[in-house]
Symmetry: C2
Subunit: 793 residues, 2 copies
């Protein structure tokens, strides 16, 4: 498997020597040392667990330079050069590989190449040895981390504890801060909101993890994670709305409004700076934050309004939620007041912050990055938004329909608000907040409008894409191309706006579902983030913009291949049009004339079968006879060259329904009996990554070939027939009349392998996402007026 590396900064020999000396890795007398002794010294320094010269020397006997010779014996020959085989035999051991098991001591270079690890050709003098060792320290080890990070995990950098300053190596921050003394504290930021309408500004509990060195004057950046789940999750999944109901006439829609909550401006910050008096109980939930905390980046978590320890109401997706999340940055930047406890008696300041703030987090936590970024709040320099929602309509609705996130049937804004209203857990808070909360729930239930599924002012207020002009910070988006929770449209649509803004922007698309990518084998994402945050928040000149391509996309056939692209849009490819034919084929030269029908049976068979949404989906796309019945399918010939679908396919379809209402679904499927990648990455060496010295672990992972399957969903979309005229406004329709629908599918970047077929499926009820009507409806498709368009490359 390839350990691709993007975050390695090419470094001159002089600079390498300087950096190696700065971390006490290069012996002071290295220029006068005989070659063999220098090599021994560098290997010894790499054995960080051995703490004395004698202990280090003793360890040399455990290495070998070829199949017969231990390093100890070899060094006794006073070598004056090394073959690259000798060097990499030892290097691979340092990188954590086991000779004889993982690689052949007789052929280390072959193995280095196979793993995509960099090598040098000759090591004929001390300079070349130093250069090779510098590169080796920055090479990714078997556990996915660089060797220098592995040394850190063994305590190499404790020698710098107490120095109280940032140190950098190859452009990235080193863990030179005392991880045993990290400060974990809680403060209460005063919002200008009064969502609980008690006449006082809402207080919001903010949790800070920061290097102890900040108490001695060090100023550090803050990585802020706005996390509505931080105080706890109220598990209400079993009380989700029923989706087993008929569609209703969408014209009953009344355009529910957005109604603002009252504001009660908090006092301006004063001069007091009391020490925080409460220790954090909750822990960081994201290893990347912990990794960076050890490297000097403070980690700040806040649930904000409605969450445990905070006042107020959770109002999911609302401008109030954005405001509350933003206000934490205002405090970090020195522009807002916070108190030591909820009695508001003593002000406390983020005196330790260098006023440069980045945001991190996935899903709802990524969403709030988009939200806050659009405010242009001072101090926010960059966001790394993972699997984020860019419009809440695109999370819970689609084209006039109620459409669930994958495996979340019946969830909605009210339920998510309840999930995060964790201040209800504390009885004292609950007694106070419950009546307001219950009233707000009622409003949400009305305004979210699960009857019609139409766009409205309620949703308009929850579409961050209208406010992208406010974005001033630099931007990274990360999304899984198989994310059926936060569907890829969310990242695609905001990317089309962000890419035109005068800000730095990057995009990573991996093959996962709703998932992080920071410890994959195939990409050094963690190192890239170190590089990025050093550049953005510590102003280190480290070439990150040259090293990190604008768009990196993981291949769906080979997990260890990443495509560098300049953009992600339809424009990456050329338009092709496919037509469904009367004989069930899907072809570029279509001449379909038939009107074909299928009878949708809603959720009846599905519920009787008691299978999961995902089970159904696989059987359905694979063409299982029972489940395929309520659908029309059109299948291409086998692809004889690989073709990549890019951007958002579009479907035009002329359809009639047997009722004066209807929902239409279309899916594109890749069909072939073959081994595809695992849906989630496989864990490799569980807990094998040390985030820092005695500071928690993470696990290397990667998508790997799975057992054979018959088909894979590429993309899909759903649409309400009553929106045939206008996606934002329902029309009356008649039963058995034809209407023309045109709509786009979720965006993709999917390579059809040779021998696979493309299948277009037209259906109605999507068991995992749409409502599941109780009544049957017959849909008829006019093939002569139906076509599929997409970009391919």
């Amino acid at each position: 498997m390839k350990y691709n590396q993007y975050a390695y900064q090419k470094t001159s020999l002089d600079q390498a020597k300087k950096e190696l000396a700065s971390i006490n890795f290069l012996p002071q007398n290295w220029q006068t040392l005989p070659f063999g002794e220098l090599f021994a010294a560098l290997v010894e320094n790499s054995v960080a667990e051995a703490k004395t010269p004698a202990a280090k020397i003793a360890k040399l006997a455990e290495f070998a330079v070829d199949p017969q010779t231990s390093l100890k014996d070899f060094l006794q020959t006073d070598p004056t050069r090394l073959t690259s085989e000798q060097f990499y035999d030892v290097a691979l051991q340092l990188l954590g590989y086991h000779p004889f098991y993982d690689y052949d001591l007789a052929a280390p270079i072959k193995f280095m190449n196979k793993q995509a690890l960099p090598t040098v050709q000759s090591i004929d003098n001390s300079d070349q040895l130093v250069q090779a060792f510098y590169q080796l320290l920055n090479t990714r080890a078997k556990n996915g981390q660089t060797l220098i990070d592995n040394l850190a995990g063994k305590g190499y950098f404790t020698q710098f504890w107490g120095k109280h300053e940032f140190m950098f190596f190859n452009g990235k921050s080193l863990p030179v801060f005392d991880t045993s003394k990290v400060i974990r504290e809680v403060v209460y930021v005063a919002s200008d909101l009064d969502t609980d309408e008690d006449g006082q500004s809402d207080l919001m509990q903010v949790t800070i993890f920061r290097p102890a060195e900040t108490n001695s004057g060090l100023k550090v950046p803050a990585l802020y994670t706005a996390c509505p789940y931080f105080g706890g999750i109220i598990d209400n999944a079993k009380e989700n709305h029923s989706v087993d109901e008929n569609l209703t006439d969408a014209t009953a829609w009344t355009n529910p409004p957005y109604v603002a909550k009252p504001q009660v401006p908090a006092p301006k910050p004063g001069t007091e700076n009391a020490e925080p008096t409460e220790e954090a109980v909750h822990k960081a939930t994201y290893p990347l934050n912990e990794y960076l905390l050890a490297r000097g980046f403070a980690s700040v978590f806040a649930g904000a309004i409605g969450t445990r320890g905070s006042d107020g109401l959770r109002i999911t997706g609302s401008p109030e939620e954005t405001q509350a999340a933003k206000e934490v940055i205002e405090w970090l930047h020195g522009d807002r007041i916070a108190y030591t406890d909820r009695t508001r008696q003593h002000e406390t300041k983020a005196f330790w912050c260098n006023r440069n703030i980045g945001m991190t987090g996935r899903s709802y936590l990524g969403t709030l990055q988009i939200a806050v970024a659009t405010t242009g709040v001072a101090g926010l320099k960059t966001v790394v938004s993972e699997a984020a929602i860019s419009s809440w309509y695109d999370y819970y609705r689609e084209h006039g329909l109620v459409i669930a996130p994958g495996e979340c049937q019946g969830e909605d804004m009210d339920k998510l608000a309840e999930t995060c209203q964790s201040n209800l857990w504390d009885a004292g808070d609950r007694i106070k907040i419950y009546p307001k909360y219950a009233a707000e729930q009622k409003l949400l239930q009305t305004w979210q409008d699960r009857q019609t599924g139409q766009y409205s002012d309620f949703w308009e207020a929850r579409n961050y894409r209208h406010h992208t002009d406010g974005i001033k910070c630099s931007w990274i988006s990360v999304h899984g191309l198989n994310d059926w929770n936060v569907k890829p449209k969310n990242v695609y649509k905001i990317w089309q706006k962000v890419k035109n803004l005068p800000i730095k922007h990057h995009l990573f698309l991996h093959q996962g579902p709703h998932y992080n990518m920071n410890n994959l084998v195939s990409i050094d994402f963690t190192d890239l983030m170190n590089l990025w945050f050093c550049h953005e928040l510590l102003e280190v000149d480290n070439q990150v913009d040259e090293l990190m391509p604008p768009v990196l996309i993981q291949d769906n056939l080979h997990a260890d291949k990443w495509h560098t692209e300049a953009d992600w849009s339809d424009d990456l490819g050329q338009k092709v049009v496919y037509y469904p034919n009367d004989d069930g084929s899907l072809a570029k030269d279509g001449n379909g004339k038939a009107k074909l029908s299928f009878e949708d049976v809603g959720g009846s068979d599905f519920k009787a079968a008691k299978i999961s949404d995902l089970d159904w989906e696989y059987k359905f796309i694979a063409g299982d006879e029972k489940w395929a019945k309520p659908s029309l399918r059109f299948e291409s010939e086998e692809f004889i060259h690989p073709v990549t679908l890019v951007g958002r396919p579009e479907i035009h379809v002329r359809v009639s329904g047997s009722l004066p209402k209807g929902q239409l679904s279309v899916a594109l499927v890749e069909k072939a009996d073959r081994k595809r990648l695992t849906p989630t990455p496989k864990f490799l060496m569980r807990g094998g990554q040390e985030l820092a010295y005695r500071f928690g672990t993470d696990t290397l992972q990667e998508f790997v070939p799975d057992k054979e399957t018959k088909a894979k969903l590429i993309t899909k979309a759903h649409m309400n027939l009553q929106n045939y005229q206008d996606m934002k406004r329902p029309s009356k329709i008649e039963a058995n009349e034809f209407y023309d629908l045109t709509f786009k599918l979720q965006p993709t970047y999917y390579t059809m392998p040779v021998g696979s077929k493309l299948v277009l499926i037209i259906y109605s009820t999507d068991q995992g996402m749409t409502k599941r009507p109780l009544e049957h409806e017959t849909y008829t498709i006019d093939l002569a007026n139906t076509e599929l368009t997409f970009s391919q490359k």
Copy 2:
């Protein structure tokens, strides 16, 4: 679910006051404080995350004493007493429960009772309040830990860091040691063995985790885990022996010997005590050790001979292995030399050890406890041996047959030795050791004798039960009643010997497979271990022998019920005999006369079906038509009263085979369509237990009702027909002649619920355990001479 508690020591009010004062929990002026203020102070002290009086007071607003009144408002009424409802409303919040979600603020006592949490009836004065609070601190919280342990996790005891002495609360050690400074070091103990025959005593890497306070004179006990996997695991499962082969004539047996390795006595300890020079790289793998480390018990791990960082050969199960494991204790006790590194230049001592050593660990790690205990080595005070092998013949063989541990078909002594020979991973070590290792593998492959499966001197030397007279330490065994890896016979047979020794002995039997039990909801095992080790290794007089019953057995129907027994043996019940009848029934009044046959087809169908061992087993015991064919089944009537099978059922069977060789299997199965417990405990609140302050976490778990199944295996056994005369010596047998076999099944403690049936299955090939012959054999059972005997209560 019941949070049963055994480790709570009844404590007088005076003692409670003394202990509460000693940990600064009771205000110094408590006797003069008004009742309400005292209550406030005790609640405030329980909010360990609030670090100042003001912060603590602010927190009171988050609690409630009834559905309408916050604690803050209640305290303003200057209360002079508390109803038990008021007290436990607050108490349950402190224990981590959420009012309105977990319990009803109007009925807290009902909830306390449901959870089996202790309550007091009236709290009318300060003394009663203090007593109630003392009990509350020692009550198990929602996460399974006591409240005092939860406070510890929030840093309550950091106030005692630097005191450098043990502190106890309710008879158990408190985490008052500075967990941020734990010393993690490596030393090299010199064995008297020279298993690699290089003329030098083998050095063994020993890893020590100890409180930093030991560097200031504190002496602490050592919990030693002899762990052959500590240096790493060589994954060779895919290279296991094939079991798809015919039986061979067992009389070819030649009684393979045990051959000792050379000894090269190490130097006696001298006077030098150099500081260790190598930091530990590996981490403790067992949360209970970490928990106790924070409470002052050093944790010592050693892989010993053959493992990474050590010299020598792994010789699984051998007296040499026992000796090597024991020698680590000799070093801990001051009786053996260790060096700072493998160059043997500087001696280093376990100066920090109070010379009281306990052993912990599961599986192979538990096995080595039995091994070392039999040596009677000085310093070893107690073992807590979990899921341990007491005779290696009972792990890889049974009654003259090669019988695999569950899900380990084809594994054997040689393969396990290879798995643990992790010094092969370091090229320098490998170059040296490989020829010796390869030769030893050949010897093991010959001597383990997979052809005949017979007992021999090789196995005799690997049966620890012959040496129980040497045991001097106290004893705890823990085993899963559903452990089909290390089968329960291992613990049962050694228990029958241990229980008659003049040592303290206890036995825990849980419902798990090959599993730990230290964080179950239904029993406070971790607290019991704290109590036990304080008593055994720190000589604290804490009534542990009265509190901990001799035998505790988890019920197989209700996971939160534990049976207290005086013993575990056939004598717990009364003998009953069941007979198989011609009509397929199994009854006490048997009159079977038929000779019934089945044709064993070996592994052919199984391999064709490509299902797992466990899939097969379930289908087989459930009576699936296809899989049940090669067997005879006899089914009792439904039980109309619950009956518990105890001890080791015995089968007598008269059988003939169509070949002059054969293997017979018998199983007892409980049959009924019902929900049984999950095979492994379900995780509850993952990571929700803090082992100490910022010192790792563990997860509460428990067996819970699972989806409905048709049948459950109670016990089984296998026997070679050629051992009909003597279990330790094969005889020639003739095809189609009848032979009388008598053998015992694995021990059990299994309650047959009302409505279930007992099924006796007689078969031959057990796909998951026996060899799977390529040839077919017809077995005939003479029912008139077949009977099943067991004890029931």
